[in-house]
């Protein structure tokens, strides 16, 4: 069958997002998973865990703040960032994300401020903590939906695993951050398990997702070719490497780099896919032929 295009020009508009958005995927993920861990740790009322809780809350609060900053920075009209909360539009993952981020920011801050209080305020703080955990779980995963809910073939075809992948990567990145920056071996111990699970899941999810995306060869192409392919592979290698090395700082560094690179790889893959009219054409033809 002939394979026509219009002078090989793109069918789709490519994303206008800057580096800030993939960076936000990472930071948001980090903050999100931190808040979940905090909420979990909050359940165990031990001083050791209190330290962990506070540290995670700090990561959550700062992370949420930085996230908001990155998002606003990327807007065409930053002054209008509040419009994100103008409507409630369930069809728009970005709108949902905005509410989640707002919620996570508010509750985690509340938890952080009230966490040490006693009495009613203290209990309110606790409640905030658990809610923040729930929001955090959303924050760490919704970006996967955000990316999947597009017309960009490679992103669309990654939809079944992208949120899981981002979730895993969020966990691993938290682990890595602790490996690198936290002296307290015990806290590290707790997070280590958390992170290691994440790394394993991240690697697994990545492989399966690439396979799924490539069920139409042309669609999965960006994972194997070009700059996006390079990023994608490097991300996997770095993450895997973080399991092998001994030095904990190195482990942390590799892990962070890995999950950061992962987000940029996904971003680049999308752009490459949007530039390739055949990706869309093949995907749609394939779907048309095999119902």
């Amino acid at each position: 069958m002939t394979d026509p295009t219009y002078y090989d020009r793109p069918l789709l508009q490519e994303s206008v997002w800057t580096w800030a958005i993939p960076a936000y995927y990472f930071v948001g993920g980090l903050a999100g998973s931190a808040l979940v861990l905090a909420a979990a740790a909050q359940l165990r009322k031990s001083r050791a865990h209190q330290r962990l809780v506070r540290r995670c809350r700090w990561i959550g609060v700062i992370g949420a703040g930085v996230s908001a900053g990155l998002l606003i920075y990327d807007l065409g009209r930053p002054a209008r960032f509040l419009n994100m909360l103008r409507v409630f539009r369930p069809t728009s993952p970005m709108n949902m994300g905005a509410w989640i981020l707002a919620g996570a920011g508010a509750t985690s801050t509340g938890a952080l401020l009230l966490g040490t209080r006693s009495g009613l305020l203290g209990r309110l703080g606790e409640a905030c903590g658990y809610t923040a955990g729930i929001f955090g779980a959303g924050l760490a995963t919704y970006t996967g939906v955000l990316v999947a809910n597009t017309a960009v073939p490679v992103w669309q075809e990654s939809r079944r695993l992208l949120p899981v992948l981002f979730a895993a990567s969020a966990m691993s990145s938290l682990g890595s951050v602790f490996e690198m920056c936290v002296e307290d071996a015990e806290e590290r111990g707790i997070v280590k398990t958390f992170g290691t699970v994440g790394i394993a899941a991240e690697l697994a999810a990545g492989i399966v997702m690439e396979k799924q995306a490539s069920s139409v060869a042309r669609v999965g192409r960006p994972f194997r070719h070009g700059f996006s392919g390079l990023l994608w592979r490097s991300a996997q290698i770095l993450t895997a490497a973080s399991l092998l090395v001994r030095n904990r700082r190195a482990v942390g560094a590799l892990g962070i780099a890995g999950s950061l690179l992962l987000r940029f790889a996904v971003e680049r893959a999308g752009t490459a896919s949007a530039r390739d009219p055949r990706a869309s054409f093949h995907l749609e033809r394939d779907r048309a032929t095999s119902p």
Partner: protein, 191 residues
Amino acid sequence: MSQSNGFSPLRWPVLRQLQRGDAKGLDKSAVSPQTESLAARTKSADKVVDSVCPYCGVGCAQLVYVKNDKIIDIEGDPASPVSNGCLCPKGAATFQLVTGAHRVSDVLYRRPHGTKWEKIPLAKAMDMVAARVKKTRDEHWEEADEKGNPLHRTLAIAHLGGATLDNEENYLIKKLFTGLGIVQVENQARI
């Protein structure tokens, strides 16, 4: 800034969604004040003037919308049997042709051997041109040829242009130049 986020608590669309029980917020609830007051700019025109496309010879009818002595829109006149309101890309660009920044609004003068344009007053320029015409005409007048055939003319002055001008303008050009004894009057009809 001011017109940014339509975010006055009372007009907050989310509240409207709640009132309407609109779970998705895809249409009415999300309408902004500016959208509600949206209107075609031609609605506010002070006058609409009948005109004709200045490009090719088909003669498509145009309507020129004017507000505060400024042209705000030019489009086809649907009543025309010639064009039924249609315009080609050139005709559709007439607005830019007549209002564009490319148009010069000063009289410019380049003196002999000059290397730049100089602005001069319109009246002065007209006087200078009239003087040139007289001088050239007087110096290069031909009353009759060697055989005594009548000439009554000057070949030293010529004119070019007319196909883009109005009939009335062509009439005055031909009338005045003929009166001056200028014969080399030409236009795009031959170009």
